[in-house]
């Protein structure tokens, strides 16, 4: 490691992508690295809003009577939380921040295929978010993030239209990002960098992009139809006219189930990077992990009906969807086995990114297994619309995706900013987050199983104990989120300057300076090495214990 000593008089940095400081150079940039940072600022803002809503919800739930917020306000808060977290935090988080930054570097390209579309994607994201925020301020929406009809099309307040407009606009941001990533991966790889030499992060971004491109348009049309039905008073989701609310649910979940894979696949890609680097070991079963990523994306489109087991959907259809849902768990399981096998006999060290990665593997597995429980129709009938479901998806989205995002942020922070953060602080934050997370969400599995319904702000006394635990956990989780803000900001001024490759990792992004120059590579790399070319082979030779 050849990190420069952090002396007072540090040698000036080489010109890099951060050098130009004007507002115009940021707002009109077509540099994927800057766009990644612009997205980072955006999602941090939205994350704060989503967390504030969650905090209000959890505070209200401390007492069984629901006395902090009115029922109406409570409904608006969980709607706000869901909408903002799903569309304005989770979906763009890894792809638009880390993916934008790292993907071209990983494939040896100077930028994504369509840099101007990339910038447009950011503007659409910000405008969509702005419109959605306006809807919230103008009175809010209480339909839940799922906007089920006929409530949303007929009885809910008019801000529904504003909010769906915001999400509609944001949808095009997603589509453009997906389009860009697909074409970039197909066309801009460095010479000699074949598909099976790509890092797994690229594979998962590609799989995510497939979903972004194929699923989001259906949501876009659906939202448009909701708005049309509101304005016109006529619509195909209105049962009074022969329409069908279940049709809405089919269209909605056709997008929203694959959307949850948008929300987890990039995280899985990050974990593959982290686990190999911090176990100093090649990835076990690379082709299977790559194939599993694409399989998840494809199979994820076939299972949407498992959100509709109790909706009135055909029972026969229900068990086909149930069967397919079991199948989609297989590629996820393959990945978990392969990560574990990668760790086995690796030379493991516990830097911050690795702690997040290990946390991911455990929590994602727990969340995934509870997903299998939910896929069993008979179980789902009992726990549908209870906190069991809430806990399941938070295990995956927070325990999985947010941890992966944190892990990736900590891993690539030196590359992005050229600074090191204090690793001890990082490890502390990771542990606090893990503890806070489990305290928040494990009680929810129990109370859901015992019958606590979701989206209710008042509840029977018997559940209060679990709610108190959950809220206490949420406050600890909040601390875990806050700590990185503190030391990351600190690192920008006082952190050690990072060398090109502080983790001694493999991958093309580590061959350029930290922070990278504007055009990424002086010369496009050639003579590509195999992926994850770490010292320990994927299957080390068996040595019998002596």
């Amino acid at each position: 490691m050849n990190a420069l000593p952090a002396t007072r008089r540090e040698p000036p940095e080489e010109a890099n992508y951060l050098s130009a400081h004007t507002l115009r150079s940021w707002l009109l940039t077509t540099d994927h690295k800057r766009i990644g940072l612009l997205f980072l600022f955006g999602i941090i803002g939205y994350f704060l809003i989503g967390t504030a809503a969650a905090a209000l919800v959890r505070l209200d739930l401390v007492t069984p009577q629901g006395d902090l917020l009115s029922a109406e306000m409570y409904n608006r808060m969980f709607t706000l939380h869901g909408v903002v977290m799903v569309w304005f935090f989770l979906i763009p988080s890894i792809p638009s921040v880390l993916g934008n930054f790292v993907l071209p570097l990983m494939i040896g390209a100077r930028d994504v295929a369509f840099p101007r579309l990339n910038l447009l994607s950011w503007y659409l994201f910000m405008i969509g978010g702005g419109v959605t925020l306006y809807a919230i301020l103008a009175g809010g929406v209480d339909t839940g993030w799922t906007f089920y009809t006929p409530y949303s099309t007929t009885y809910a307040n008019p801000q529904v239209v504003t909010m769906v407009a915001g999400i509609f606009i944001n949808g095009f941001s997603s589509i453009l990002t997906g389009l860009n990533f697909i074409i970039t991966t197909h066309k801009l790889r460095a010479p000699g960098l074949t598909w099976f030499r790509l890092p797994l992060f690229v594979w998962t971004l590609y799989a995510t992009a497939l979903i972004l491109v194929l699923a989001t348009p259906v949501l876009a049309m659906l939202l448009l139809l909701v708005a049309v039905e509101r304005f016109w008073g006529i619509g195909v989701f209105d049962p009074a006219q022969g329409g069908d609310p279940i049709l809405f649910q089919h269209l909605f979940w056709f997008y929203s189930h694959p959307a949850v894979y948008i929300m987890i696949l990039p995280g899985m890609g990050v974990v593959s990077e982290l686990v190999t680097c911090f176990a100093r070991k090649r990835l076990f079963g690379y082709p299977f992990v790559a194939g599993a990523s694409v399989a998840i994306a494809v199979l994820g489109f076939l299972v949407w009906g498992h959100h509709m087991f109790v909706s009135g959907q055909s029972i026969y259809s229900g068990f086909v969807f149930s069967l397919l849902s079991y199948m989609v768990a297989i590629p996820s399981a393959i990945k978990v086995f392969n990560w574990t096998a990668t760790l086995y006999k690796g030379s493991i060290s516990f830097e911050t990114p690795m702690l997040y990665a290990i946390g991911f593997i455990g929590l994602f597995t727990a969340g995934g297994l509870t997903g299998l429980m939910l896929a069993a129709t008979a179980v789902d009938v009992h726990v549908s619309d209870t906190y069991f479901v809430v806990a399941h998806f938070h295990y995956i989205m927070v325990g999985g995706m947010v941890l992966a995002f944190m892990g990736g942020l900590h891993y690539w922070w030196p590359k992005i900013t050229g600074r090191m953060y204090p690793d001890l602080a990082g490890r502390l934050a990771a542990v606090v987050t893990f503890i806070g997370f489990n305290l928040t969400f494990f009680p929810q599995f129990v109370m859901g199983y015992l019958g606590m319904p979701r989206r209710y702000h008042s509840y029977p006394e018997e559940f209060q104990f679990y709610h108190i635990l959950s809220t206490a956990g949420a406050s600890i989780l909040g601390v875990g989120y806050l700590l990185p803000v503190v030391y990351f900001l600190w690192s920008l001024k006082r952190g050690k300057r990072a060398p090109a490759n502080p983790w001694d990792a493999r991958g093309l992004e580590w061959t350029v300076a930290s922070p990278p120059p504007t055009h990424n590579f002086h010369d496009i790399p050639e003579g590509i090495r195999p992926p994850y070319d770490y010292p320990t082979p994927a299957t080390p030779p068996f040595t019998s214990p002596s």
């Binding site: 194929l214 049709l247 089919h250 269209l251 489109f301 009135g312 959907q313 055909s314």
Partner: protein, 107 residues
């Protein structure tokens, strides 16, 4: 997938075929053929679509990637349609809570 490049003549032939198919589809639609009406209309529409895709849009003369991209989109649309209709069509197949009977429901 590289056939020889299309000429003006190729395009004119396809155009003529499309016009014929248009006349055909309107003509057939003037008569009530029961369930066959929809089937015929769709077959003709798909034929027209394939002609437009392969010739006008150069899929026949293009790379395999283009063919995969075009095909994949239609495949995904099929997934949406089949998956949803699978629910509607089988609502009354198994005993369960009585599904809403629709007046003159599907064949």
């Amino acid at each position: 997938m590289k056939a020889t490049e299309p000429t003006l003549r190729t395009f004119a032939t396809v155009w003529a075929a499309l016009m014929v198919l248009l006349a055909l589809t309107v003509g057939v639609a003037l008569f009530d053929l029961g369930p066959l009406s929809l089937a015929v209309a769709l077959v003709i529409a798909v034929t027209k679509a394939v002609l437009i895709l392969l010739v006008f849009m150069h899929v026949r003369y293009g790379s395999r990637e283009v063919l995969v991209f075009a095909g994949a989109a239609y495949l995904w649309l099929a997934i949406l349609l089949v998956g949803t209709f699978h629910d509607y069509v089988t609502r009354n197949w198994l005993p369960g809570p009585p599904a809403q009977r629709r007046q003159s429901s599907g064949r």
